[in-house]
Every structure is written in C-alpha cells, then in structure tokens.
Point group: C2
DNA sequence: TAAATAGTGTCTCTTAGACAATATTAT
DNA sequence: ATAATATTGTCTAAGAGACACTATTTA
C-alpha cells in the first residue's frame, strides 16, 4: 500500500509566570525559512521516538528541565504552512516554574528569550501566532476548571502569589476573599509553618501543593 | 536540513444515536495488518490536502454526508502502533444523525457497520480501542458543557428524544423536569407548532435547534 | 505611628438536584 | 376507562460573587 510521507514536527508553547507577567519562550531563527523571525521552539520528530518523547526532548533542550506539565494541544497541518514542503506540527504546551528555567539558545537560533504574551512580536514564523493564541485560550480554560495553575509556581508559595498567577493568566482582577475561599474548598494545599518575610508588612504564610505526583493528562478533556 | 518523513493517517470515530444506543462505525479490514479485525475508519492524508480535509473526505467516503460536527481529538504516534512502519494518526470524532447516514464499505474493507459502544469487539486493530475510549470520554465531557448533543438528532425532535440522547451517551438516567428546566434555560430551542403523533398517548411537541449554522470548533477547549 | 500587605465572614442570588401530579391521546 | 407518554413547579442545598475591616510586620 502506498502512502505519502510527510515531515512531522513538534512545537512547544512554554509558559511561565515571571515579573508578574505571563511569558512564553520564543527563539530567533538563524536559518531560512523565516530567518531572523521569532518562533515557538520546536523541531522534527527523530525516528524512533514517540511524539510526546519528541516534545519532552525539545522541552529539555530548550529549558534544561523535564518532569513539568506538558500537554498536547492540537495538530496543525495546512499544506502551505511550511515553505520547505509538506510539514505538519503537533503542538504542545508546557508550564514551567520560572525560578528553575532559563531559555537555552540552540545552535540553529540566535536567541531564546521570555516574551510577554501581552506584547508579542508583530509577526511570528510559520503559523506560530495561531498556535500561540490557541495555547493561551486552552491555558485560560484549563485554569478555570483544573489545577494547572499550580505548575507555574515554586514548591512553596503564598496565596497572594497564587492569586497573582491566576490574575496574570486570566488578565483580570480577582477578589481576594472569594479566591481564598475557593482555593480552600478545593483542599489541595498544605500550609507550612513558615512565612515569607519580606517588606514592611505582615508576613504571608507559605503553602505547598499536596499532590507530589502530577498525573500528566492526555488532554483531560 | 534533513528530517525523517513519516506516514500520517486520519482516523475518525463516527458517533450516532440509533435504537436508543450510542454507536460508532467500525469497518472490518480486508487487508493486512490486522486483517479481518474491526477498526475505526480512516486513511492516509493525500497530498496536497489539509488534515481536516482528509478527515472530511474520509467521513464523506464512509457515510456519504458532510457538513456534520467534526472535531480533532488527539494525535497518536507511538512508534510501534502500526506494524507497517512509522505511521502516526490524527484522530477525529464526528457526530452524525443516524436517519441520514448509512455506513459505506469501501473497497479495502469487508463491512462497515454501526457498533454499540457498550458492546465493542474484544480486540480492535492498531490502538483503536484507546482512540475510541478517548473519543467517548471527550464526547461525554463535551455533552455536559456544550451543545454537541444536538448534532445527533434530526432537524426536528421531541424533548424526550433529546433527553434520551443525553441518557444514552452519559449512560445514566436523568430527571425529566430538571432536564427540561436546564434545556429551557439555555434558550437554544425553537418550538414548532407540530407534534409527534405516535402511539396511544399524548403527542410530544417537536422542537428544532435555533442555530442554523454550527460553528465548527477547533477544540472549543 | 504610618505604611504595606495578610487574613478573614456575611449576605444575596443563582443553580443543581430531589421529588409527584395533571394533561392528552388512542384503544 | 385504561394505558401510555407529555408536561409542569417547589423546595432545599451548595456555590459564586459582591463587599470592608482587622492583624502583623518594618521603618
């Protein structure tokens, strides 16, 4: 049986919260096509490796971390999306703790940097703007109905920091009392006996996420 | 730049409600691998066509209908999932009105038939059991939070028929009054002046879905 | 004691779920 | 009249959202 073979890439939208801002890693391409333009990090699947393994490898190469939240987003495959030929991409999104991650520029790119999702370059390579917008939509949706938000924080954090994560991603203010009531009712946090002492004000209690192991979901939905 | 090229297929889980049962189309394979086993309908992407176009084409070939609900599900790509070599599949799910669809057996299969999801063959070809289970999970999730359920009904239907759709998919009984209250509050239905006269009992009013055009979602989520 | 952030409770409104009686048709 | 299905409303409990004051620390 005959079938066309086509190139399959993975691209990863790597989110973090940094400086009270929601950021993604973008890389500046050193090679054609879209030379000198910003793109989402990614690369081709290398035989034999599963799609998810390729995504994890790219994530590792790009950030130096593994064991972070990684979820398949969507597969993009318009015939003309890549001028080199027929190439589809399986897009993923990842959530990382910015205190543990520094973008790493691989050899085929000039730079790898955190960019605010609220101030992206006007043009991105390929269909990466579409991928990024969809990732942001999915992230916001997930934030409301799941606990993915915890993946963006260090091991111990204050409730105000957690609330800031939510506010930054959803891009709106939340009521402090309602937020805490809600989080408390979920019963997901463990209070520590330690406080974050910083500044001339009452210290904030540090909490950690109860679940040690996070079950990596196929899509949950 | 060098990259491995791999085979890319689409597989479609085609759901319907028929005989008060949730069913999917399965085809019996005439060719190796998995000869004589049941599989989800699918096929390879033909250049040049988008992934979604391939899915729509397969759906058309399999059912004779187009313009039905079609949503990308997930991309499955374990290296050994296909004994012929490295082939990944982009899985879709579709919802069709059983009064308009009859499964069509293509040349490479013996039969194409509706199978109840509650009594599937013990073994399915490839990783199709996993795909089917995931599709069912997604369908149930969507049913609770969106209006996909309407896609499974003819243009005009009774509230009892709509409730049966929900009960069949969710595999549990729903309270009639609460169900109608909920549907009514969504304000999605248009009551007609006609009734379904059938049997020795009070006739049921026929309703239709207000939205003429359904916006085909990328994933909504 | 002033400035800054942490922490906490009540009320209202909406929604989900449990629950049963009447209405209309054909036979 | 009987059998069969359609149609309709109330009560309660839980959750979402609006809203303001006290607590604790450093300078």
């Amino acid at each position: 049986m005959y079938y066309d073979k086509i190139g399959v890439a993975v691209d990863i939208v790597i989110f973090t919260i940094k400086d009270n801002d929601l950021k993604v890693i973008l890389v500046k391409r050193k090679l054609s096509p879209f030379k000198d333009m910003w793109a989402i990090p990614g690369g081709f699947i290398r035989e034999p490796e599963s799609i998810e393994a390729a995504a994890m490898r790219e994530l590792m190469e790009e950030t130096g971390v593994k064991d972070v939240y990684l979820e398949q987003l969507y597969t993009f495959g318009e015939p003309k999306r890549d001028p080199r030929g027929r190439i589809i991409t399986v897009a993923y999104f990842a959530l990382v703790d910015s205190t543990k991650v520094k973008p790493i520029a691989k050899t085929d790119v000039y730079e790898a940097e955190w960019h605010s999702v609220y101030g992206l370059p006007k043009m991105l390579a390929f269909d990466h703007e579409e991928i990024l917008k969809y990732a942001l939509k999915r992230l916001r949706y997930k934030l409301e109905y799941t606990t993915v938000g915890f993946q963006l924080l260090p091991d111990r954090f204050t409730l105000t920091e957690l609330q800031k994560v939510y506010e930054t991603i959803l891009n709106r203010k939340l009521d402090k009392r309602n937020f805490r009531k809600k989080i408390s009712s979920l019963n997901l946090l463990k209070a520590s006996d330690d406080y974050k002492m910083e500044g001339a004000h009452r210290p904030a209690r540090l909490y950690s996420f109860k679940e040690k192991e996070y079950i990596f979901p196929r899509g949950v939905i």
